[in-house]
């Protein structure tokens, strides 16, 4: 597959996910809406990291660093929700 073709497909996929976000914001409400938006955002970010930011061409160390950053964001959301989810 040529590079242009790959990148165009990724771009199309991102647009598709954008439409999905738009649809979800109308169709869903409350926590379900938040969960859907976050899940779609993760998918979009993953596509961008993998293709546009060249992670698929990189070696193990750089991929590990990217995963480390993701894990670090999980720490933040997890421990912050230990507060927000458990408030009386």
């Amino acid at each position: 597959m040529s590079l242009v073709r790959t990148l165009s497909l990724v771009w199309a996929a991102l647009l598709g996910l954008l439409l999905l976000t738009l649809g979800a914001s109308f169709a869903l409400t409350g926590p379900a809406s938040l969960a859907a938006s976050l899940a779609i955002a993760v998918a979009k970010a993953a596509l961008i990291y993998w293709f546009f930011m060249h992670l698929r061409e990189e070696g193990g160390l750089v991929r590990l660093a990217a995963l480390g950053v993701a894990a670090w964001l999980v720490i933040f959301t997890l421990l912050t929700s230990a507060d927000y989810a458990m408030r009386p």
């Binding site: 160390l61 950053v69 670090w72 720490i75 933040f76 421990l79 912050t80 230990a82 507060d83 927000y84 989810a85 458990m86 408030r87 009386p88």
Partner: protein
């Protein structure tokens, strides 16, 4: 010698045999003499010169922050508000905090000693991105001068933590401008962290495996991870405060659907790890000073290196301990309390290993050892009182009192600043090429230790008795302790000025240091003092472990190098066994 004569002795820049004021040929061809113009300093990409630029500028900001502290301590001499107004007092302690945290403590050790030493310690000729390194200094100066400008324009009164809703809704000071300054200086931190990470990964000399890195380098690697990961969060948080103030976006204002406590989550997710940005390099310095003082291999090398990384990681999991009484859920508080106790483990590992390294060492009472010993003592007090504050129930009593102020000053000032001065005294002969009078170094270390304890120990008692922080009008029963503290601060102030006198003196009149004045191991001590512009004539090949001092076994007597005596002692030990 008069000034005219000194100027006449300026060397011909093209003639390396014309020494001018240089005492030795090594000094003549060193980085210090590689160009004499202002331009050759301000546009340099040499990591050693950039380190000197940082040394000068962090010293400047240390004195600005120190002046604000002097105002605060002078005002606290009496229970009334007689020196500063309420507003003026708020602005003085905010200025002290902002300057000391972002313009002194965070850049102090990494940007001066890290910049100077990391390439020398790993056997490289410079950092991976020399121009980025210079850019980080310019960004730092831009942020710093902007802060000084805000100070002249009237200052800010929120404290260095910019808590909402005070900062977002009520404060009349220049919150947005200070936020911009801190935002800007953050990029300097990120660039430095990035540069160190890439340098340690890519520029190690042949044979310099990860297990042969010096502990100073391990500590800076861990620090760099935090710098790169945490600083953007601070930038975003301050941008959100500015957005709420300027455009009324509902991030922290409950009326608009925001949450004031969200600010504290975001801020401390940066700022607690930032505490480790400030202290991890100091821990690295002390590991070096301890090994050099004992002239022994470091006890538990892998554990000290690993504990730096562990501190960097666990340091990200404890931020909620700043919010025990702020309305955070009890469940979260319990989790954060437990994790805060966990972060004491790697710090404890370091302290025990340093002590074990010193055990039966060949210690000489040199100034760096005095600073390292003060560090260990003060760090232990600061760390243990941190555990006291991590207890949920005890924190209800001590939160926002002088006990907290004393605790973090024991870590930041007793710890980091002691290590900073220890590093300055240890590597000064390498940086300047000259020896300073050791007796003055010892005296400065002793006065700093005494002045520090007199300043901050009374604050533990004040806090325990209920004196809240950030108040300048207080109950007269607290006055004795406040006067003690202010008296200590004046001793501390004089003691901090002492090194600048004799170190300056040594630059002109000190004897040449030679490559290894302390008789210690390490790549930086194999090159001339001051080092030549490109550090190493040939890139060294590393064949042995770090700290490869001669090993002595139980029962050995005298120097290990003395084979005959060593063998005899071994025989004795054997017969006793």
């Amino acid at each position: 010698m008069t000034m005219d004569n000194a100027l006449e002795r300026r060397p011909n820049p093209d003639d390396l045999n014309d020494r001018g004021l240089s005492e030795t040929q090594d000094e003549r061809v060193s980085y210090l003499r590689a160009g004499h113009t202002l331009r050759s300093w301000l546009l340099t990409t040499d990591h050693k010169r950039i380190a000197i630029l940082y040394l000068i500028s962090v010293t400047l900001f240390f004195f600005i922050g120190g002046a604000a502290a002097a105002l605060v301590r002078a005002d606290l001499l009496t229970p009334q508000a007689d020196l500063l107004t309420n507003e003026g007092y708020n602005r003085a302690f905010t200025l002290h905090g902002v300057i000391m945290v972002w313009f002194f403590l965070i850049p102090s050790i990494p940007n001066t000693f890290g910049n100077f030493l990391i390439p020398l310690m790993i056997g490289a000729r410079d950092l991976a991105f020399p121009r980025l390194n210079l850019l980080s200094w310019y960004i730092y100066m831009l942020g710093g001068l902007f802060t000084v400008f805000v100070l002249i324009a009237g200052g800010v009164d929120t404290g260095w933590t910019f808590y909402t809703p005070l900062s977002s809704m009520f404060s009349n000071g220049h919150v947005v401008m200070v936020a911009v300054a801190v935002f800007v200086v953050g990029f300097s931190s990120i660039l430095t962290g990035l540069n160190f990470i890439v340098t340690v990964h890519k520029l190690r000399a042949p044979g310099m495996s990860w297990g042969r890195l010096r502990l100073f380098v391990w500590a800076h690697y861990a620090t760099s991870l935090i710098l790169v990961l945490a600083t953007p969060v601070l930038s975003v948080t301050l941008a959100l405060v500015a957005a709420e103030r300027l455009f009324g976006l509902g991030i922290f204002d409950p009326k608009l659907g925001g949450d004031p406590l969200l600010f504290q989550h975001l801020f401390w997710f940066y700022s607690h790890p930032a505490v480790y940005i400030m202290v991890l390099p100091a821990l690295g310095v002390v590991s070096e000073l301890v090994a050099a003082s004992a002239r022994k291999p470091v006890f538990g090398y892998r554990f000290i290196a690993g504990s730096s990384i562990a501190i960097a990681i666990i340091g990200f999991l404890v931020w909620g301990h700043h919010m025990f009484v702020a309305g955070q859920s009890m469940y979260a508080s319990a989790v954060f309390s437990f994790l805060s106790l966990a972060v004491a483990v790697p710090s404890g590992i370091k302290v025990y290993n340093w002590t074990a390294t010193l055990y039966k060492g060949h210690i000489e009472l040199d100034p760096p050892f005095f600073f390292a010993a003060s560090f260990i003592g003060l760090f232990v007090v600061g760390g243990l009182t941190g555990l006291v504050l991590a207890m949920l129930a005890v924190d209800v009593h001590l939160h926002d009192t002088y006990f907290v102020v004393a605790h973090f000053h024991y870590i930041m000032v007793g710890g980091t600043v002691s290590a900073y001065f220890g590093a300055l005294h240890f590597w000064w002969p390498k940086m300047s090429g000259r020896i300073y009078p050791r007796i003055w170094g010892r005296l400065a270390a002793i006065f700093i230790f005494l002045g520090f304890n007199l300043t901050f120990f009374p604050q533990f008692i004040l806090g325990y008795l209920g004196m809240p922080r950030r108040y300048h009008v207080y109950d007269p029963s607290f006055q004795v302790l406040h006067v003690l503290s202010s008296a200590g601060a004046s001793i501390l102030g004089v003691a901090y000025l002492m090194p600048f006198t004799y170190l300056f003196w040594s630059m002109r009149y000190g004897a040449p240091a030679g490559p290894n004045p302390w008789d210690v191991r390490g790549l930086e001590w194999t090159v001339p003092s001051p080092p030549p512009k490109h550090n190493f004539e040939e890139i060294p090949v590393v064949t042995g472990p770090p700290y490869d001092y001669p090993l002595e076994r139980e029962g050995d007597q005298g120097e290990a190098g003395d084979a005959a005596e060593g063998n005899a002692a071994e025989g004795n030990a054997g017969s006793r066994a």
